[in-house]
C-alpha cells in the first residue's frame, strides 16, 4: 500500500532546485523577497537568498559552494556545513528537491 518514499539527503552531487509551486518573489508592498510555499510564507535573509538563487537545478552542491565561496571570499570548507544544513532543511520542508 504505502509507496516507498524516502527522505532525500543532501550530497555533493545533489542538484538542488526550488520545487514546482514554490516561488521566490519580490514583494513590493514590504520591499522584501518572499518564498511562497503551500501554507507558509518565508522571509529569507540575504545569505539564504544567495543560496536559494543558486538552487536552479543546474548547479551541483559542489558548484554552489564554489560560487558562494567566491561571492563571500571565504574558503569552501568554512561555509560547506552551513550551506548543506540549509539545503537539507529546505528539502525536509519540501521547498527544494535535491
Amino acid at each position: 500500500m504505502r509507496p516507498q518514499r524516502e527522505r532525500a539527503v543532501v550530497s555533493a552531487n545533489s542538484m538542488p532546485a526550488l520545487k514546482p509551486h514554490v516561488r521566490l518573489q519580490y514583494d513590493p508592498v514590504r520591499g522584501a523577497w518572499a518564498l511562497l510555499s503551500p501554507e507558509k510564507v518565508f522571509w529569507p535573509d540575504e545569505v539564504s537568498l544567495d543560496i536559494l538563487r543558486l538552487c536552479d537545478g543546474k548547479h551541483t552542491v559542489t558548484q554552489i559552494l564554489e560560487e558562494l565561496a567566491g561571492q563571500y571570499e571565504a574558503p569552501v570548507e568554512e561555509i560547506a556545513a552551513d550551506v548543506e544544513a540549509f539545503m537539507q532543511e529546505w528539502s525536509d520542508r519540501f521547498l527544494v528537491t535535491l
Binding site: 509507496p3 516561488r23 514583494d27
Partner: protein, 374 residues
C-alpha cells in the same frame, strides 16, 4: 490604536456556503447563506486585486465547497496574474472531469482535501454523504497527476480519533506532502455538536503520542501538522495568528471578518466589501481594531509573558465560554474560568454521542447518524 497595523499576508475566501457534504464539525456559521447572497465574479476579482495591493500573498479558496463556483478558474487566473499564491480547500467530491487540470493551467498552486474519516464508513457518517470517500481518493489522485502538491486535512474528534494512524497511511498512499491532523475547533456547527464530538482524555493522549511519533519517523517524508485540542490544553492557540494581525476572511456575501466565528461576538459590526474598500476595512474597521495587538487585554493576559505568543487566544472561544469576548481564552490555565473546559468535557462524556446536527442550509435538525452503508 497605538500599534502599527501591518499589511495582511493571508486571506481565506469563503466563496460559497453551498456544499455536497453536511459535516457535523463544519466551521461555517449555523446560519448559512444561500446562493443568491454570494458575490458575483467581478466583485471577487476586484476584492482579490485590492487584497494583492494591500500585501496579501496567499489566498485560500474555500467554502462550503469552492468548486461549486463555475468561475473559480477565472478567479485563480486573476490571482495568479498578481503572483498571489493560491490554495484550494476542497471536500473533493463532485469535481467535474478536466476541472482540476483547468485550475492547474489557470495557475493554481496547491490543493488541500479534507477527509472526514480514514475509511469510507467514517467519511460517510461524518459528512452524511454516501460514496464520498472514494470520490475524495479519486480527486486526490487527479490532483497529484496534475502535478499539484497535496495536503490531506483530517478534522479529528471522538468519532475518528482512533483512525489517526490510518490517516497517516492514507496521506502517504495518496502521495501528500503534508497531513494536517486538526482537532476540531468548537465554533459554528462544531459548537452545536460539541457533546457528540468531544473525545475522551485517553483517546487524546493516544492521539498526541501517535502524532509525535509520526512527526519524528516521517521527518523529511511527510509533514504532519497538529492542531491541538483546546479543551485539553494548558495554553490557547494564537487564533488566526492574532486578531486582525496578518490574516482575515471573507464570507460568501463579501463580509470581511477577522476569523470564522467573529460574527458570534455581539456588538461588533462587520463591513461588506463594496460598501467600503478592503484597505479601509483592514485599517479602519472598529471590529478589526477591537482586539488588535495587546492594548485591549485585561489581566491575566496584560501582564503575561506569552501575550505576543498567543495574543490571549481565541476571542470567539472567550465569548462562547466566558461570555465575554475580551476575556482571557478559558483554554488558558491562567484563566479564572479554565475549570469550565474540564466541566464541558465531563458534560459531553455524560451525554448522547450519537445524535448529530448535520450541517444544513435550512438550519439545524437533530438526526440520528446515517446507517453505515451495506
Amino acid at each position: 490604536m497605538s500599534e502599527t497595523i501591518l499589511p495582511p499576508i493571508g486571506m481565506l475566501a469563503e466563496l460559497t456556503h453551498r456544499c455536497p457534504l453536511q459535516c457535523v464539525y463544519c466551521s461555517n456559521p449555523v446560519e448559512l447563506l444561500k446562493a443568491n447572497r454570494e458575490m458575483p465574479t467581478e466583485a471577487w476579482v476586484s476584492l482579490f486585486e485590492q487584497a494583492a495591493d494591500l500585501g496579501v500573498l496567499q489566498i485560500h479558496l474555500s467554502g462550503g465547497e469552492p468548486t461549486l463556483r463555475p468561475d473559480l478558474e477565472v478567479m485563480i487566473e486573476a490571482l495568479s496574474r498578481r503572483g498571489v499564491y493560491t490554495n484550494l480547500i476542497t471536500a473533493g467530491v463532485g469535481i467535474a472531469e478536466g476541472r482540476i487540470e483547468a485550475m492547474a493551467d489557470a495557475g493554481l498552486d496547491h490543493v488541500q482535501i479534507s477527509f472526514q474519516g480514514a475509511f469510507a464508513p467514517t467519511t460517510e457518517k461524518i459528512g452524511n454523504n454516501r460514496g464520498s470517500h472514494e470520490k475524495k481518493m479519486e480527486t486526490a489522485r487527479r490532483v497529484r497527476a496534475a502535478g499539484l502538491p497535496l495536503t490531506i486535512n483530517a478534522p479529528v474528534h471522538r468519532h475518528n480519533m482512533d483512525e489517526v494512524p490510518d490517516f497517516i497511511e492514507l496521506a502517504l498512499e495518496l502521495d501528500a506532502e503534508r497531513l494536517e491532523i486538526a482537532n476540531v475547533q468548537y465554533a459554528g456547527w462544531a459548537l452545536l455538536n460539541r457533546n457528540a464530538l468531544m473525545p475522551d482524555r485517553e483517546a487524546v493522549e493516544r492521539e498526541v503520542e501517535v502524532v509525535r511519533r509520526a512527526q519524528e519517523e516521517l521527518y523529511g517524508i511527510l509533514t504532519v501538522d497538529f492542531v491541538t485540542p483546546d479543551y485539553f490544553a494548558i495554553y490557547p492557540k494564537p487564533c488566526m495568528g492574532g486578531w486582525a494581525r496578518d490574516a482575515f476572511m471573507v464570507a460568501p456575501d463579501g463580509t470581511v471578518l477577522p476569523c470564522h466565528a467573529a460574527g458570534t461576538i455581539p456588538n461588533l459590526v462587520f463591513d461588506r466589501f463594496g460598501d467600503r474598500s478592503l484597505s479601509e476595512i483592514w485599517h479602519g474597521s472598529p471590529a478589526f481594531n477591537a482586539f488588535r495587538g495587546t492594548e485591549w487585554m485585561a489581566e491575566p493576559c496584560r501582564g503575561c509573558e506569552r501575550k505576543e505568543i498567543d495574543w490571549g487566544g481565541c476571542r470567539c472561544q472567550a465569548m462562547a465560554i466566558a461570555g465575554n469576548a475580551a476575556a482571557t481564552d478559558p483554554a488558558c490555565i491562567k484563566s479564572p474560568l479554565h475549570a469550565r473546559m474540564a466541566a464541558l468535557i465531563e458534560e459531553a462524556m455524560a451525554s448522547d454521542k450519537d445524535t448529530f446536527h448535520y450541517r444544513r442550509i435550512s438550519g439545524p435538525v437533530p438526526t440520528h447518524q446515517l446507517e453505515p452503508a451495506s
